[in-house]
């Protein structure tokens, strides 16, 4: 029995899969600040037109240019592993497979879109790309991609992260990127904040403002901006993961997969492995999809404050309110359906449709799972990845209880070698799952029960 299933470079998928073409409830075009649909030319100051075309595309398949394939071949096709040692430790009849996206040079799935975006920018004549980053996973991926293509890379890293994550910063520097703490004195947005609050720790919002300003105000017209998650073209580029997995599962002799699992932050990691399989579910396959998030901020699963009514509503002025919740009246529902905080609209719609089930796991459970994983399979996972592992272990245990030979696939989205402080906190007992007593929580949230419930647009098939 093989531990790894490889594809040859010739077997690497030649097209990306676009779920937007198959969603049973089509996505509505996003609206701009003026209430009208966003047109491609409105995005042109920050994205090259070839990527904007992908952002709005409804084509099911989009060719991966040979130039992008050549870059991806540096680490792709990524291996599909069978987690034999974990299966044995759990005593489960389930067969657990995982795509190891930690084999990329930056150590995560992020380079799958970083190299594609950098390549398209270069084709468009762009010389310099700006972006923002928190902990640095995306910033380092883009820095790596730009270094391959000889593009300048400017990363605005949130200052609190810049101070806490020195190694990601050094990775970016090694790949020749210019990484500065945000707010910086290099942009008007940064200078304004620094003037008011010189010691500010920064925020992702300010870093985005700086990155976009740096792109828009470059008089040469040769600078653009890049984003590592949420947008359609980003999710599209990640679908190579799931397509490879399909081929590899077939090579391993699997005729079907029962569960596909990934963590869900901005959505690109989940979309990457799940979207090609969701296509099968739309066409009748019986597959469970689990998008995993932390209970520390469970916006997908149970966040009572996660009101999100789409783009029409977002243009609504601030709502009058006297006490939290009591008089809050949600605005009209956009035909695009319920969307969740910070999550890619395409992923949100799969949840609304019932194609995907969100699940939340607490931090102790995740670290426990991560450590069990590391002590059986060897690789130390990123904290985000550990949410998926916790779900995998839970599903494998259920399969054991039911005596079912389930096939479980998940996305091992990246290593945790830059996040060992979190492991340190776990080992020293500093992490707790403090939570309000149920009674207090219920009382606290009771007023919200009186609120009108958000409606969602779905076909009701799943």
């Amino acid at each position: 029995m093989n531990t790894k299933v490889f594809l040859t470079e010739d077997e690497m998928p030649r097209q990306w899969y676009n779920l937007a073409a198959d969603l049973p409830s089509p996505m509505q075009p996003p609206l701009g600040p003026d209430g009208n649909p966003i047109s491609p030319d409105m995005l042109a100051p920050v994205f090259p037109m070839n990527l904007i075309e992908q952002e709005v595309s409804q084509e099911r398949w989009i060719d991966i240019p040979e130039g992008v394939q050549e870059l991806l071949r540096l680490w792709r096709p990524s291996p599909l592993y069978r987690a034999l040692r974990l299966e044995k430790a759990l005593g489960t009849p389930a067969r657990i497979y995982y795509k190891n996206e930690g084999v990329s040079p930056a150590g995560s799935h992020k380079p799958n879109t970083a190299v594609a975006q950098a390549w398209y920018n270069k084709q468009f004549g762009i010389k310099r790309i700006t972006t923002e980053t928190g902990a640095g996973q995306w910033g380092s991926a883009l820095a790596f991609a730009c270094s391959l293509l000889g593009l300048e890379c400017k990363v605005f890293m949130v200052r609190i992260s810049f101070d806490q994550k020195p190694y990601r910063k050094l990775m970016m520097q090694t790949w020749n990127a210019n990484c500065v703490p945000s707010p910086s004195p290099e942009t008007n947005a940064g200078r304004d904040i620094l003037k008011k609050m010189p010691d500010t720790p920064g925020s992702l919002g300010i870093a985005i403002s700086e990155a976009i300003e740096a792109a828009v105000t470059d008089q040469s017209g040769q600078t653009r901006y890049s984003l590592g998650s949420v947008l359609n073209h980003v999710l599209l580029h990640q679908t190579i993961i799931g397509q490879e997995a399909k081929k590899q599962l077939a090579k391993a002799g699997e005729k079907k997969v029962d569960a596909v699992i990934a963590c869900a932050g901005g959505g690109s990691n989940f979309a990457g492995i799940a979207f090609p399989f969701i296509s099968d579910k739309i066409n009748g396959a019986d597959i469970a999809f689990y998008a995993c998030e932390p209970t520390s901020c469970p916006t997908l699963t149970r966040g009572p404050f996660a009101y999100d009514f789409g783009d029409v509503a977002s243009t609504t002025p601030l709502l009058p309110m006297h006490t939290l919740g009591h008089t809050f009246v949600p605005p009209p529902i956009h035909a695009g359906g319920l969307r969740y905080h910070g999550m890619a609209p395409l992923v949100s719609q799969t949840v609304v449709e019932g194609l995907v089930t969100p699940r939340a796991f607490d931090q102790l459970e995740c670290y426990e799972a991560a450590v069990q994983w590391a002590r059986t399979e060897g690789f130390i996972p990123a904290p985000e990845t550990s949410h998926a592992i916790a779900c995998v272990i839970d599903e494998a245990k259920k399969a054991k209880e039911a005596g079912q030979e389930k096939v479980i696939l998940f996305n091992w989205s990246g290593h945790g070698l830059m996040d060992l402080n979190g492991y340190g906190a776990y080992f020293s007992g500093k992490l707790t799952n403090y939570a309000l007593p149920d009674k207090d929580l219920k009382e606290s949230l009771a007023p919200l029960d009186k609120l009108p419930k958000a409606k969602s647009i779905k076909t009701g098939k799943w």
Binding site: A306, L318, E384
Partner: protein, 86 residues
Amino acid sequence: MIDQYDELESRCRLLGHPVSFQYCRSQAEGHACRHLLNCWFERIPIEAYAQQYLTQEEIASLLSPPPSKLHTIIQLIEKAKKTPPA
């Protein structure tokens, strides 16, 4: 006290590392992060905290539907276009 929970830490799903409650309630410009309620409701009585220490405008802002990413990007493009040259 407004700082009674400041020492508590939680993993920030936006930044990808732990941050203190102090960061969540004040962030860069002294305003609360829009995820404040969602990220803390299970750990502290966040509704009572918000009512005591946030203005009604701030609370309304936290509960307002967030704009889509593309919407935000368009807004920032328009703002940047009006930026005077450095």
